[in-house]
């Protein structure tokens, strides 16, 4: 029961806090432009161009390709393209961790589906007569093995690299080591737990019990694993590991946001709204008059 509650709670909090963070960023005050080229949605993306390359740009339609923007975004999400291009050695281990996490997310979903199957009498095993049961069995195996291996390897190597690289060491705070260790510990307990269960049959059973609030006998290792994963899920969104939220905003709302303030545009409305705002704080340097004071 307790483990079920931890499982549900941690997932709810993970999603909830992440969404709340996104909500907070989304509701931050309208900011000035900080576009940085190349901007994928622009027609001149290949050479890093923008609509400013046109004469009388304001009188022409702003041609944008949201498809290209989404493709570039996916390249970042799926492959961490910028790291790949700019720091290959680091990419290998960072990507192992990220790929591991993606695979484990998929694995978790597959376990839940598998547990549902089993509860409904469809066997998920190598000898299953159901094609879906078979498929689920093998895909779960692959995602689970690789996910755990990549995730643990990635987090472990990132930790070691930070520890032994003279430069990174100077910038890494104890908390940042802790972040990596937490992930590593959560994954290692997973590896230890499931190494006794190479077909993931038990994992599906446990998942079924967790999902349905059915009490079951969990040994110390499994209990520790569930608790660590729970803590990790809650901790990630409150720590700066929530960069999956931040990254959306840095690209879409800062670097790639180049919509001009044209008459009749949404931007214009936001500008009008923002310019009526009177800050409650003001700067103190002598050359700055309080915002409300009239110009002499």
């Amino acid at each position: 029961m307790i483990l079920s509650i931890i499982a549900y709670l941690s997932i709810v909090l993970f999603v909830g806090i992440s969404v709340y963070k996104a909500y907070q960023f989304a509701n931050m005050p309208f900011h000035g432009r900080m576009d940085l080229y190349p901007v994928p949605k622009e027609k001149g993306y290949e050479h890093g161009g923008s609509y400013y390359e046109e004469i009388a740009w304001w009188s022409k339609p702003h041609e944008v390709s949201h498809v290209r923007e989404i493709i570039e975004m996916l390249k970042e999400i799926i492959f961490i393209k910028k790291l790949f291009e700019n720091q290959r050695p680091f990419w290998w281990i960072s990507y192992a961790l990220h790929l591991g996490i993606y695979l484990l997310m998929a694995w978790t979903i597959l376990l839940v589906i598998g547990a549902m199957f089993e509860l409904n009498g469809i066997i998920v095993a190598a000898n299953s007569s159901s094609i879906w049961g078979l498929l689920l069995f093998y895909v779960s195996l692959v995602t689970g093995y690789l996910g755990l291996a990549f995730g643990a390897l990635g987090s472990g190597l990132l930790f070691l690299r930070r520890l032994f690289d003279n430069t990174l060491k100077k910038y890494t705070t104890p908390q940042e080591y802790f972040n990596l260790l937490l992930i590593f510990a959560a994954l290692m307990t997973g590896i230890l737990t499931w190494s006794r269960d190479l077909s993931f049959g038990f994992a599906r059973e446990v998942t079924g019990n967790l999902v349905t609030f059915t009490p079951f006998a969990a040994d110390g290792l499994l209990t520790l694993h569930v608790i660590l994963v729970g803590i990790m899920l809650i901790y990630i969104p409150i720590s700066k590991m929530s960069h999956y939220v931040g990254k959306y905003f840095t690209f879409h709302k800062v670097l790639w946001d180049n919509n001009p303030n044209l008459k009749g545009s949404d931007i214009e409305q936001q500008v009008i709204k923002a310019s009526s705002f009177r800050p409650t704080t003001s700067w103190s340097a002598p050359h700055i008059k309080p915002p409300a004071a009239p110009e002499k």
Partner: protein
């Protein structure tokens, strides 16, 4: 002094006389790779050490940052900084809050951005100039004073820095060791921008503590707000200058030039960096010749704020930037032109089209001169003979125009059409390196700062130039032209060429793009470029 290899962000508070000393600069390319081709770096004068903050790397960027007389002064200085630091996260800073918080919170310290920085690379990967070094110092201070985690957990979350006068003063200086070129931001996998944090430090110093380099503030934005131009050029002096240039152009080239001033019913208001009229008057002259030849209906303004496009506020003070941008926009509006065209000044491009874009509604459209100039070439409204420009030409991409605005192709299309020996630098376009003059460096000339600019900040650019002209350098009868279509970039080029005596020794020349265009005009009886005579 610390060996830079051991330098950590928390060392900023140490009592050393000088934190590091630059010694291992990136080698220059041939022909400047031989010993003796480069003057050695110098030590700060003892008098500067007493007066300013030379305790970072020995250079003085902020000539108004002077050492305190008493312990009270010291404490007050720190207190003011901290109060400013708190304010950058308040509603007084709404216009950058979201980007700032993102860059502040999310750095993964993956170090991908370091190699993108020309200053870091030029210093032989000196720790002090690593893009995240400065950011990390700022984070540590904020954590120490303003976060619960920092107060409770201290060093565990990185709040392990001593904060005293030296720490803050060094951080202020360090904010002027970054060109705000944002090349590092292009490489960050998380989309973070260390230049934002640099600028916030500059803002705290200016907006809260009233401390900013004199050339940017007192003789920059303040002078501009007072007289209309950061050059101090008054309206009558401006009109006199134009008259002189008209006479001079007629005398030299036999062209009867008349600058249209305050012309009613003009379509275009052209905004120059007023520094051009003093330092490179051939540039506005060339613009006038081309615009007339292409038959544009244009004018200059003699209104206060109407004849200087600069806005130094961009580099250190949002409130000054806004004042100037609003005053400039008002001139254009009162005038009733259809559009404003910004001439060859990179930061003025960005100021008038990007930074001020969301400051107010109902703006007069502003456009860059480059598409317009390219259009004149493309449409054959100018009759040009490229063979007149038959010497090696390379193009410097001003960061503000290219990386930060996406204006990349028009200027190269022009050069490809009018300069048969045009060659690109490596890298170029949006991946270019800053000229080293960015964010005010080009005009900051106090104490030993020019040495830092020319030998460190501009070092990568100088190598790019030498690379582009490889194989032609030794031929001194052959001029080699660095096309730097931006006033500040030209300032930086002038600095480099003078410092290395490169014009004298190797016939390395520099200038804008319109000068080359005019030089190629079939109608020109003699070369417009002086060095061709």
């Amino acid at each position: 002094m610390i060996n830079q290899r051991d330098l950590r962000p928390k060392d900023m508070g140490r009592s050393d006389d000088q934190l590091i000393k630059l010694d291992n600069l990136m080698p220059l390319l041939a022909p400047f790779d031989k010993p003796g081709m480069e003057p050695p770096l110098t030590d700060p004068k003892p008098a500067w050490k007493e007066k300013y903050c030379t305790s970072l790397d020995g250079y003085v960027g902020i000539d108004t940052l002077t050492r305190p007389k008493s312990k009270e002064d010291e404490d007050e200085f720190v207190r003011k900084f901290l109060s400013g630091l708190e304010k950058i996260f308040s509603d007084a800073n709404n216009g950058v809050l979201q980007p700032l918080l993102l860059s502040f919170e999310y750095c993964a310290k993956c170090n991908t951005c370091s190699d993108a920085c020309h200053i870091y690379t030029a210093t032989g990967d000196n720790e002090l100039y690593r893009p995240i070094y400065r950011s990390e110092v700022l984070r540590k201070i904020l954590k120490k004073y303003f976060t619960t985690s920092g107060k409770l957990l201290g060093g565990f979350v990185g709040a392990d820095i001593d904060v005293n006068w030296e720490t803050i003063a060094r951080l202020g200086e360090l904010a002027y060791r970054c060109n705000l070129c944002r090349r590092c931001a292009q490489t960050c996998p998380l989309g973070l921008d260390n230049a934002i944090l640099t600028k916030e430090i500059r803002k705290i110093f200016s907006q809260e503590m009233g401390i900013a380099p004199t050339p940017l503030h007192t003789k920059g934005t303040m002078l501009q707000i007072k007289t209309g131009s950061s050059t101090g050029l008054s309206k009558p002096a401006f009109l006199d200058t134009l008259e002189f240039l008209e006479e001079d152009t007629e005398e030299k080239f036999g062209i009867k030039l008349k600058f249209p001033v305050d012309k009613k019913g003009a379509d275009i208001l052209v905004l120059h960096n007023a520094g051009e009229f003093m330092a490179w008057p051939e540039n506005p002259v060339a613009f006038a010749i081309l615009f007339d030849a292409a038959g544009l209906n244009w004018t200059l303004s003699s209104e206060i704020m109407g004849y200087d496009s600069v806005n130094y506020g961009l580099w250190y003070d949002d409130t000054q930037a806004k004042k100037i941008a609003m005053m400039q926009m008002k001139v254009a509006k009162d005038f009733g032109v259809n559009r404003v065209v910004v001439a060859e000044c990179g930061h003025a491009h960005k100021a008038s089209m990007i930074s001020s874009d969301r400051m107010a509604s109902d703006r007069i459209p502003v456009e860059s001169c480059f598409p317009l100039l390219w259009d004149m070439v493309k449409s054959k409204r100018l009759i040009l003979d490229p063979s007149k420009n038959n010497f090696p030409v390379t193009l410097h991409d001003p960061c503000n125009v290219v990386r930060q605005m996406g204006i990349v192709e028009p200027q190269r299309s022009i050069l490809k059409a009018i300069a048969p020996q045009f060659r690109e630098m490596t890298p170029h376009g949006v991946d270019n390196y800053c000229c080293g003059g960015g964010s005010g460096f080009a005009i900051m000339n106090s104490a030993n700062f020019p040495e830092f600019r020319t030998q460190v900040a501009s070092r990568m650019k100088f190598n790019q130039i030498l690379g582009a002209f490889k194989g032609t350098m030794e031929n001194t009868s052959l001029p080699k032209y660095i096309c730097a279509p931006c006033s500040n970039c030209k300032g930086a080029m002038r600095g480099i060429l003078e410092h290395y005596d490169a014009t004298e020794k190797f016939n390395l020349q520099y200038g804008g793009i319109v000068e080359l265009m005019v030089n190629a005009l079939v109608s020109m009886k003699k070369p417009f470029l002086e060095f061709l005579e």
